[in-house]
Amino acid sequence: MMSNRDEPDRSNPEDQLADFEQRLNARLEMRRAQERKYDRQNANGWAVGIRYGTEFIVGVAVGAAFGYLADLAIGSLPIGLMIGTMIGFGAGTMNVVRAAKEMSERAQRDSQGADRG
């Protein structure tokens, strides 16, 4: 049995069809919105966190490592390490910003795809 709250004009079959389609679309749109909200929240919060964390830490670590290697080569121990760590900090931040930008672009494209499909 279909829901028979707002009763359509049953005498006109075309009107009936259009009305049904309207209700169906509204329902589908509602469900889609709900589903989208659902997978935004739970699917990859953990993965996103890990991603940002590694991007940042690895940037700092690589910068520091290169500074240290330069120090070993030239024999200027603390200076290269300090400069390297600072540059690495910048690189880590850059990595995170880039990752965030790319993820939001992908999310946007996904939601557009869902609207079209």
Binding site: N44, A47, I50, R51, T54, E55, V58, G59, A61, V62, G63, F66, I87, G88, G90, A91, G92, M94, N95, R98, E102, R106, R109
Partner: protein, 261 residues
């Protein structure tokens, strides 16, 4: 007593010893699982596509969905030009996915008698993931230089920055580029390592509680449910990390195709 050490699962065992010119080139359980992943995927794909039906059956549908999934991924992040790397990205994705999934077997014995048998996850060793990510980066650098020549270095000189700032921005870009293979490999390795240790720690609790042979054994139900939940989570992680690895590969390949962002 049963061994409840959560680290034993990562041990490498020699299956068939082999030594050439002083180098130990033994066939290990890690190598076995890599071969298993490669062979099973190749066989499945060959089997699924050998009919080439116009209306696909079940196997062929799976193969086609996989193909479409990876092709979409490549196209959306590296453009149509990126499709020339499709075979590479597809193999990489499927290999990591198969490796992760075979690692989800808690007990998968080697078919060799007299060898200590246990399951093994190839991607839980950083040497494996680092090799894969260095392969990606060498393709990015090699193809980038081959296609763009010196223009590939534009990657380190972002457009729209005043020349004075190049002193700071270029080293940052270089470090950022060099950190990519490391973050790529560490992410996959750390996820698999941490997840599998967690699984085995909770599984160990069950055994330890049962070993008390008292009413405490009943408490073992709690870690059991935890293990069931964690197993489901690990399946998600196994897929998600293979996906992340492949999509980042596409993004880096895009840099090789279009170095000036």
């Amino acid at each position: 007593m049963v061994d409840t050490n959560p680290i034993t699962q990562f041990e490498i065992h020699e299956v068939a010893p082999l030594e050439i010119a002083g180098f130990n080139l033994a066939f290990t359980n890690s190598a076995f699982f890599m071969v298993l992943a490669t062979v099973s995927v190749t066989l499945l794909m060959a089997l699924a596509t050998n009919k080439r039906a116009l209306v696909p059956g079940r196997g062929q549908s799976v193969a086609e969905i996989l193909y479409g999934f990876v092709a979409d991924m490549v196209r959306s992040s590296a453009g149509n030009e990126g499709l020339r790397f499709f075979p590479f990205v597809f193999s990489l994705f499927i290999f990591i996915l198969a490796g992760n999934m075979f690692g989800m077997f808690p007990y998968l014995p080697l078919p060799v008698p007299g060898v200590d048998n246990h399951g093994f996850t190839i991607t839980s060793h950083i040497i494996v993931t680092l090799t894969l990510s260095l392969l990606v980066m060498s393709i990015v650098v090699g193809f980038g230089v081959y296609k763009n020549g010196f223009k590939f270095l534009k990657l380190f000189v972002p457009a729209g920055v005043p020349p004075v700032l190049y002193v700071i921005v270029t080293p940052i870009e270089v470090i950022s580029f060099l950190s990519r293979p490391i973050s790529l490999s560490v992410r996959l390795f750390a996820n698999m390592l941490a997840g599998h240790i967690l699984l085995k720690v909770f599984a160990g609790f069950i055994v330890m509680l049962l070993a008390t042979e008292s009413l405490m054994g009943l408490v073992g139900i709690l870690p059991f449910f935890m293990v069931v939940g964690l197993t489901a989570l690990e399946f998600l992680v196994a897929f998600l990390q293979a996906y992340v690895f492949a999509i980042l590969t596409c993004i880096y390949l895009n840099d090789a195709l279009h170095p000036a962002h």
